[in-house]
Amino acid sequence: MSGLYQAMPLWVLLSSLLAAAVILALGEDHPRLRIGINLAAALLKLVLVGVMLLGVRAGHEFLLRVPLMPGIDLVLHADALSMLFISLSALLWLATTIYAIAYLEDSPNRARFFGFFSLCVAATMGIATAGNLFTFFLFYEMLTLSTWPLVVHRGTEKAMRAGRGYLWYTLGGSAVLLLGIVLLHGLAGSQDFVAGGTLEHLVDSHPLALTGIFLLLIGGMGVKAALAPVHGWLPTAMVAPAPVSALLHAVAVVKAGAFGIVRVVYDVYGINLMQDLGLAQLLAIMASITIIYGSLRAIWQTDLKRRLAYSTVSQVSYIALGIALANPLASIGGLVHLVHQGLMKITLFFCAGCYAETHGIHAIEDLDGIGRRMPWTTAMFTLGALGMIGLPPLAGFISKWYLGLGAVAAGQFWVVGVLLASTVLNAIYFLPILHRVWFRPPRDEQTEGLAEAAPGLLGPTLFAGFAALAAGLFAGFDWSPLAWVELLVEREYSP
Amino acid sequence: MTGIEPLAVAAAGLMGIGLYGFCLCRHAVRRLLSINLFGNGVFLALILIARRLPDGPDPVPHAMVLTGIVIAVSATAFGLALVRRQARTRGDDET
């Protein structure tokens, strides 16, 4: 394998990093050129990711190692788990970019927006391909910094307040995470991510330190993953433009946190060590609490985006729950939810953006009868909502099914109860919306007739919706997310 | 070695007075003078130290004192110029 091919993670990273630099440098003056570069970079990234997918499946190793400090390397490497996150991000980046171009048409400061947007995706790529905790942290912070300008993009007092909350939560979380990383470095030196973990030799001498460090790491990442009780930034960050919300929820920020938790559990501590220390059970309980809490809070939200936000709080914890059960089947459920939740949630946020942009609707009570005016958008919203509830054969069902199987196999029957309760709660906060949009008459009789969202908004929405549908319908096929996760889990559990 | 003691006391005294003046005086000229007192104490100490060699004085502290005095003079001149500028600006403000 040649060096250039081995360094694929770097090219994927650079494709959006350079795009960000060029977009920021161009400024507001060349909108066409900017859009061209943005789309070209997104397409290029898709191609690169495609090449990598083939490579990883064929067992090729992508690894790039640059010494940074004495004893510390910057490591970029791509394994099956990275590819799961990378593919999702690359795909949804393209969709969200198209959506955002239409959404922000004629609004000010677009170059700034798209520049930081690309930077944010570059950070996501770095997080996905980070080969050790140090590298992970590097990009984790880059993500924090590049999303803040997006959250405060509107520049209103409300946006600034949300931005401040976001910063305090995430920077505080990062400080805790950094403490954990430094302590671990002091205890065990700099260790690359290795399936099964690298710390087992320390379990007899330093069990307490390992437990403490684990709590710091998970606590730090839990902020971004919006684990209760440090989820507070997420609903307030909803003042950001819809594409940002979509990005924060489906791809970048919460997923970065969840992905980090997966890395720590699988590749730093390893499942066996987690169970020995009793940490798996703890994580499972934390995740379950968040799942129920998020759903309960969602029921009382009257703003569509806020309800979706609490739904995210709840749904992302499925991922943590899945890996905490420490059982191959549950792991499949949790990891595949990383992709499935991303596809479904981005569909829902795209729809919310369409409603807001086309008819100025933000509150749930104003959605009455919108299905007659925006049938396509509403159909996609329905797909996403039913998927979230977990209706077979949609994507959400696949995740919950494997989670349930895993819980039974692991003998943790209470988790089945959590899953059932969550499903009921999901239905309680989504079904009334579906009833409103399809069966209630519009409040204002004047506003009859078809008025769909603009094609630039509707296109990505349809794409995301059908992708979510396909992920569920064709889960049994060879290249589906589920098949990929099965491959991945097989590698993790049979070292 | 009996001749050294009073001079050492004088050096320490000068430094003490200088430090005291710097801390307690508000006016810039007084502070500048305090600094000079302190500096003279240091120079006196250096001259004392030059006597430590049995065969004749050590030239190094002497060179240090000479250089130090040159620096102290120029710095004081600069300080005084600043004080004058300050007084003039304050005068301008009042009129």
Binding site: P67, N109, E141, P149, A175, H185 | L32, M64, A72, T89
Partner: protein, 481 residues
């Protein structure tokens, strides 16, 4: 060319340029810019020699001990020279654009700035206690008149206060030098450590005086009182030099003396005390920076805070802490230079730097704000940046030595820095008010905007190239492992 000519040229070329400018009588910014260019080349030419041999020594005039005057370029000195040279280029370009039309101010700047540069180079290259005193005074006397360039009468109070504290500091330092000389009979940094008897009262007193004198010059809490007004009031280019280099030079001295000649005299308790002062400076300075209403004062108080990090070496005294403290000096120098230049651009455009009245300054100042943001990343110690590398090294040192209280200080300091950096950055994103008042100033010319940005980018790049730089630096000479 023999490598030992390079340190000599580094000292004498700037002095020559400054004198030429003085004699010429009309501003010649080109001369200054050629000088800083040559200066940078000379420093770069030093790197291979220092990397191979560890240090380059030049003996001025060929005198033998004890009258010899040596110039020594080792890893630590070289890194400081490199920082100075890089900053000098950026600041000179900035100054060329800033003082284009002001004849008098330009003449003064281009006379004093080369003198200051030469003095700084000489300070970093000095290897005996008395030459350090002389160069410290030269730095002071060249730096303070630059503060006065802010305009007639504006900064006289600040400059006078600065001068008084600086003079007192260097005389206290000199008193300490006298006591140490009485003990050891030598001033040479390399010979002192062996010549000093272990822990005598006079020796400890001398060392304490030296340290206190330097602390005053480095504006370490509680001696910081002169700094904010002087650094905040000076013109942007001067503030950048003062904050990034001049106080840094004093902090550098502390590192150099502590790990060299003072090694037999220092005690762990003294180290803890200095560390505590540093921690107080970090917390107090950051808090004050957060509370300021004027942009340049925010940046000036940030300097008070950031200098505190360099003191965290003393309680820990391991290689990682040494590297972290020095690296922090480099990163802060570049970042602070960028912050002050960017703040100068904002001031130029708005005609004031009151934070409350800044809104919607995004578009015309985009490049300067980018510089401010990037430099802010390093100041906050977020990756990837030189500031983060330094913080990481200091954090590892605190874990290694088990002194957890510094770990907490470091993390807290980072959060506080984020508070004051983002308080400024958010202004760029706030919606502009309905009726935009007339802008009295002008959009900064590209040279001014980009010189700030280049510095900020360098502060970020510092986070990626630390391996060779840290290798060049090596370990502390006398530090315990």
């Amino acid at each position: 060319m023999r490598p030992d000519v390079l340190p000599v040229m580094l000292v004498f070329l700037p002095f020559l340029a400054g004198l030429l400018q003085f004699i010429a009588g009309r501003p010649a910014p080109r001369l200054g810019n050629v000088l800083v260019g040559v200066n940078l080349l000379l420093v770069l030419a030093l790197i291979p020699g220092v990397a191979d041999e560890g240090a380059i020594v030049a003996n001025l005039g060929g005198w033998s001990e004890p009258l010899a005057i040596h110039l020594l370029a080792d890893g630590l000195a070289l890194l400081m020279l490199l920082l100075t040279a890089l900053l000098a280029v950026a600041v000179s370009l900035y100054a060329m654009a800033a003082w284009r039309d002001q004849h008098h101010d330009a003449l003064r700047f281009w006379t004093l700035w080369p003198l200051l540069l030469g003095s700084l180079n000489a300070l970093f290259l000095s290897r005996d206690l008395f030459n350090i005193y002389v160069t410290l005074e030269l730095v002071t006397l060249a730096a303070i008149p630059l503060v006065l360039l802010a305009g007639p009468g504006k900064t006289v109070d600040a400059a006078l206060r600065y001068l008084l504290f600086a003079l007192l500091g260097s005389l206290i330092y000199l008193a300490g030098v006298a006591l140490l000389y009485a003990q050891a009979g030598t001033l040479d940094l390399a010979l002192l450590a062996d010549a000093l008897p272990d822990s005598t009262l006079a020796g400890s007193l001398g060392a304490s005086l030296i340290i206190v004198g330097i602390l005053i010059k480095a504006a370490i809490l509680p001696f910081h009182v002169w700094l904010p007004a002087a650094h905040g009031g000076a013109p942007a280019a001067v503030s950048a030099i003062l904050s990034a280099l001049v106080v840094k030079a004093a902090a550098y001295l502390l590192l150099r003396l502590w790990s060299g000649p003072l090694d037999p005299l220092v005690t762990p308790a003294a180290g803890q005390l200095l560390g505590a002062l540093g921690a107080l400076a970090i917390l107090f300075g950051s808090w004050q920076a957060f509370r300021q209403e004027r942009l340049k004062l925010v940046v000036a108080y940030s300097t008070v805070a950031q200098l505190g990090y360099m003191l965290l070496f003393f309680p820990m005294a391991v290689t990682a802490a040494w590297q972290g403290a020095v690296y922090h000096g480099l990163a802060h120098g570049l970042a602070k230079g960028a912050l002050f230049l960017a703040a100068g651009n904002i001031l130029l455009y708005l005609g004031h730097d009151r934070l409350r009245e800044m809104r919607g300054i995004d578009r015309p100042l985009a490049v300067s704000l980018l510089a401010f943001g990037l430099a802010g990343v390093s100041i906050m110690g977020l990756p990837p940046s030189g500031g983060f590398t330094a913080k990481w090294l200091l954090l590892t040192a605190s874990v290694e030595t088990g002194q957890w209280w510094w770990t907490i200080t470091l993390l807290l300091g980072g959060l506080l820095a984020a508070a004051y950096v983002f308080r400024v950055l958010r202004l760029a994103f706030l919606q502009p008010p309905e009726n935009v008042p007339d802008r009295p100033g002008m959009v900064p010319p590209p040279l001014m905007a980009w010189s700030a940005t280049v510095l900020a980018v360098l502060a970020i790049v510092l986070g990626v190239v630390s391996a060779p730089l840290l290798e060049l630096l090596g370990s502390p000479v006398g530090g315990s492992e």
